[in-house]
């Protein structure tokens, strides 16, 4: 069992479990947390799960946990690793079932006080326009060609169909489309599960939330993003729905057969993986990219339906209710990238159940988003 005596404080709010803690660790594990968060993480299996990720072949420098660390399966929630190519691995279970689960933030220039009399009507329209539940179906019915286009184009397909603006794409991680998608590696069953689910929220901890901007810590930066105190904000938290789940399930199951062929020993079978450059690794990456693009498109269509809901209720009654996108960012994703560490440039794949930071314009402004406290109305 792992306890506080195994953890070393290496800086304020940075804690380390040294590589010597377990023989199978390839690097130390690090947590970014204050003492209360650390105690909470040590109260269940979160930190053991973090240590497990430090055993992945090719892992670079540290296995890392963000301050939101809590117990998941395979990776802890909030866990991030980067693995160095070519020997580094990609892990479908590490990315998780809800590929590109993420959060989108919209804001308006109207105050909560102005829409308060209409909140019940807004809630009714949101329920009607944004279906929820595990197997719920949306209003778009895609044929094979259209689904294929969504898997490859993501939010760009939504813009072509009039469900997104250029501004929306500019304010989305990777502009709402990650490269590498190839639907040939997405099973028929995965496509069947996703075909009618665009524009649906799903279940579990997924939500659409109408918020009030309670406090702004840097008014100048917030103003650049269109965020002002007491105004209305909307958050969307969801991902790739049944399509992403089926892709993860397909590849976690498939890699159980091949992981031993690569001589990889793992402390938890949910971490099953393959070298990124292997046939299996590349096939999963192509399929995962499809699910990521599907999730970007899904949150985009939900944003469109939320805007429609606001318009149905507020048009002619309240001014400036239009919702502008602040940003959309994923937290279950693997990405191939070039990076520099200790003056050495190399290729790696990052695997995260946490937000890694925006990839688009205005990065500096986005850093302050986490400092905005938004309370539900």
């Amino acid at each position: 069992m792992l306890s506080k005596e195994h953890v070393e404080r290496v800086a304020e709010d940075v804690w380390e479990i040294p590589q010597t803690f377990r023989d199978d660790m390839r690097v130390p594990a690090r947590l970014y947390a204050d003492e209360d968060l650390l105690d909470a993480a040590l109260s269940d299996n979160s930190v053991v799960q973090l240590v497990n990720t430090a055993t992945l072949p090719g892992v670079i420098r540290y296995a890392i946990a963000m301050p939101d660390i809590h117990q998941g399966y395979g990776f802890p929630i909030g866990g991030v690793v980067a693995t160095r190519l070519p020997e580094g691995v990609i892990s479908p279970g590490g990315v998780g079932y809800d590929i590109n689960c993420g959060v989108r933030l919209l804001v308006s220039l109207t105050s909560v006080a102005e829409i308060h009399p209409y909140l019940e009507d807004i809630a009714s329209r949101l329920y009607a326009n944004c279906p929820s539940g595990v197997g719920s179906h949306g209003q778009l019915r895609l044929n094979n060609t259209e689904l294929d286009q969504v898997l490859h184009e993501g939010s760009r397909w939504m813009m072509d169909k009039g469900y997104a603006s250029r501004h929306d794409l500019d304010r989305t991680e990777e502009f709402g489309r990650i490269p590498g998608a190839d639907a040939a590696f997405v099973s028929d069953r995965a496509q069947e599960r996703g075909r009618n689910q665009l524009g649906t929220l799903g279940a579990g901890n997924h939500f659409i939330e109408v918020d009030r901007v309670a406090e702004v810590y840097d008014q100048a930066i917030a103003a650049r993003l269109g965020i002002y105190p007491d105004n209305v904000a909307v958050q969307i938290h969801c991902g790739s729905r049944g399509l992403g789940h089926q892709i993860c399930e397909d590849y976690v199951s498939q890699l159980q057969k091949t992981v031993r062929d690569y001589g990889i020993e793992l402390p938890d079978r949910e971490l099953v993986c393959a070298p990124f450059d292997s046939k299996e690794g590349q096939e999963y990456f192509h399929a995962m990219a499809c699910a990521a693009n599907f999730a970007f498109a899904n949150r985009q269509l939900l944003a469109h339906m939320i805007r429609r809901s606001f318009e149905e209720v507020l048009a002619g009654k309240v001014k400036n209710f239009e919702l502008q996108q602040v940003y959309d960012i994923a937290h279950n994703m693997a990405k191939s990238r070039n990076t520099t560490l200790a003056a050495v440039r190399f290729e790696c794949v990052s695997i995260a159940k946490a937000q890694l930071g925006p990839s688009g314009p205005d990065r500096a402004s986005f850093r302050m988003i986490s400092a905005i406290s938004a309370n539900p109305c």
């Binding site: 279970g93 949910e270 099953v272």
Partner: protein
């Protein structure tokens, strides 16, 4: 004695299941998963339909995960409530089973997927035991 028991999990759900042999363990695991969702069952038609399914794995654990995920597939995609489970044949990590189903007007399950997290089928004095974490 109950053949399954829910166990604590911070963010998802988990249960411990037992069986005198692998067949019983698999059937009981399916019943346990249904029990987790019992309160969620919605309006169902009266008609009962028996579905025959075949599942394979590379070992006992992967067969267990694939079997439960196959049941979730029926429920999520075909909007069925799976009510009883009979494994007719099990050898070499392959099974053939009958599942009693009812049609449902919606997907009632809140379980999204069955995971391999720390999954190990263990021998006990009474047979077999496993702990299963599901994604919700």
């Amino acid at each position: 004695m109950m053949s399954f028991q829910e166990i604590e999990h911070t963010a998802d759900r988990a249960f411990r299941v037992t069986g005198r042999d692998l067949t019983a363990l698999l059937e009981n695991a399916a019943r346990a998963m249904q029990a987790l969702d019992k309160d969620e069952a919605g309006t169902t038609a009266e008609r009962l339909e028996t579905r025959e399914i075949e599942v394979e794995g590379v070992d006992g654990e992967s067969l267990l995960v694939n079997w439960l995920n196959e049941i979730l597939y029926l429920e999520q995609v075909h909007h069925l409530v799976c009510e009883e489970f009979h494994i007719d044949d099990l050898k070499n990590h392959c099974l053939r089973a009958r599942v009693e189903t009812r049609e449902c007007d919606r997907t009632y399950t809140h379980i999204k997927a069955v995971t391999f997290h720390n999954l190990k089928i263990r021998e006990t004095s009474d047979g077999l035991e496993a702990e299963i974490v599901v994604d919700v």
